[in-house]
Assembly symmetry: C2
Homo-oligomer: 268 residues x 2
């Protein structure tokens, strides 16, 4: 039986808002004219975020847009905020700090409603911090533009909308292959997914497809024959042999359960 | 029969010159008190390079150090420059532009003498541009900190001291996994080797070992099941499925012919 869960649109940050807006178009197309909630919870200073999305989505015909922001967990129980979500066709988490999203709305009525939107077929989208937070265990902090040091990675429980993956964003732009490998080394049960800026994966059930200008890197640790992550000192560099790496670009697809990529039909 | 060729020490740039100098120590240890030629040919403005190496190597007991620089190909035939190399135990190529090394000394008496030093057991070392130039086909230009675009990679014939590999340097620091994947996609016969700053591989015959603070990434394309490099447009992002990736750190070894990594003995 097919799941009734809606699509998850996971964006690597800096999605185009002024050109062809390929990624926001994917969001818009799945709203069926319904209301989209822009959740700016990840940001300490959310001013301006909503306006930029309002303008971009208006150009795509999405006009029923509202902003959700909470200063504190207390506000997740306010009837006003819960009303915002009640008849939403989708929710879009903007960037900032993933730990702000999880610590402010984790285990609150808002999180319950986000899950209900997803379960009943609505769209859940997130960019940058809003992308990372979708997994069960999320990357919170780790060095960019250097190889992974054993002790240099912080993870935390995310919203858990996607199981058995770790997501990283701004991927090629910030040189984050090292820290994603480090995350996967900790437990190869999780698949590492690194998403470039202006690039997204659209997850429908067991499959995702790639949209946007950059690439998506899938790090599959199931083939790893050796890693030093449990033995080496905190300042030592990671060793990890036999990683399977897939690089996907626009139109390519990936089947999560079998961990298999599938190329875009070249005629399309 | 064992080859009599000497070691190749291939450094990812910015090797430590003031602390424990682990990488320069590897060079020094293999000179047996002999003369080391510092070749600053890669640089348009080599002033200061030699002094920095002189100071660092002096602290390691290497005092017989000379500088080789040529302004133009004509100077590669000067008896003075050829004399510098005649009784050298090793040569060390400093950083700059790899195309300057290959275009200035390629197919000249100096290149012949470098090859003779290598063939007779001498040390050939190179850092940054001096690392890239060691392979048959070398990376010359390509974007860092973004995913590979099909048309965005320039390669050129290097000195060819190492066959069937492409070397990239400043690897994690400049986010170069994308361009190395792009190079390997063009012909998976070549193994991609990405070397971090202050990190080196020491190649002895068919095996290399890793020295230094960072990591070495080996991209093996022999398992690749799909790539779009021949079909996609120049501005499109690379797709490449099923790459085998090995991350090695200090003490790990790699056998080139069988493409197999071997972990450091944890007791050492």
């Amino acid at each position: 039986m097919a799941s009734c869960a809606g699509p998850l649109i996971v964006i690597g940050g800096h999605e185009d808002k002024e050109g062809d807006k390929a990624i926001l178009q994917e969001v818009a197309a799945r709203l069926d004219g319904g209301k989209l909630v822009i959740a700016t919870v990840a940001s300490h200073e959310p001013e301006g975020y909503f306006d930029a999305y309002q303008k971009a989505f208006a150009a795509l015909g999405v006009t029923d847009l509202v902003e959700l922001y909470v200063n504190d967990r207390d506000e997740t129980r306010s009837p006003k905020n819960l009303d915002l979500l009640r008849d939403a066709a989708g929710i879009f988490f903007t960037g900032g700090d993933q730990l702000r999203i999880s610590s402010q709305i984790g285990d609150t009525p808002i999180e319950e409603m986000v899950r209900a939107i997803h379960d009943s077929g609505g769209v859940v989208a997130g960019t940058s911090a809003g992308a990372s937070v979708m997994s069960e265990t999320m990357l919170v902090r780790g060095s960019s533009a250097e190889s992974h040091r054993i002790g240099d990675l912080h993870m935390a429980p995310g919203l858990g909308l996607i199981r058995d993956v770790i997501i990283d964003q701004h991927f090629a732009e910030r040189g984050r292959i090292g820290r994603l490998l480090g995350g996967v080394a900790q437990n190869p049960r999780v698949l590492g997914i690194g998403i470039d800026e202006d690039t997204a994966i659209v997850i429908d059930g067991d499959t995702f497809k790639v949209v946007g200008a950059g690439a998506v890197y899938v790090v599959d640790g199931s083939t790893v024959s050796h890693s030093n992550i449990a033995e080496a000192g905190r300042q030592e560099a990671l060793s990890m042999f036999g990683v399977s790496l897939h690089v996907l670009s626009s139109g390519d697809q990936f089947k999560l359960s079998s961990r298999r990529p599938c190329a875009r039909d070249p005629s399309t």
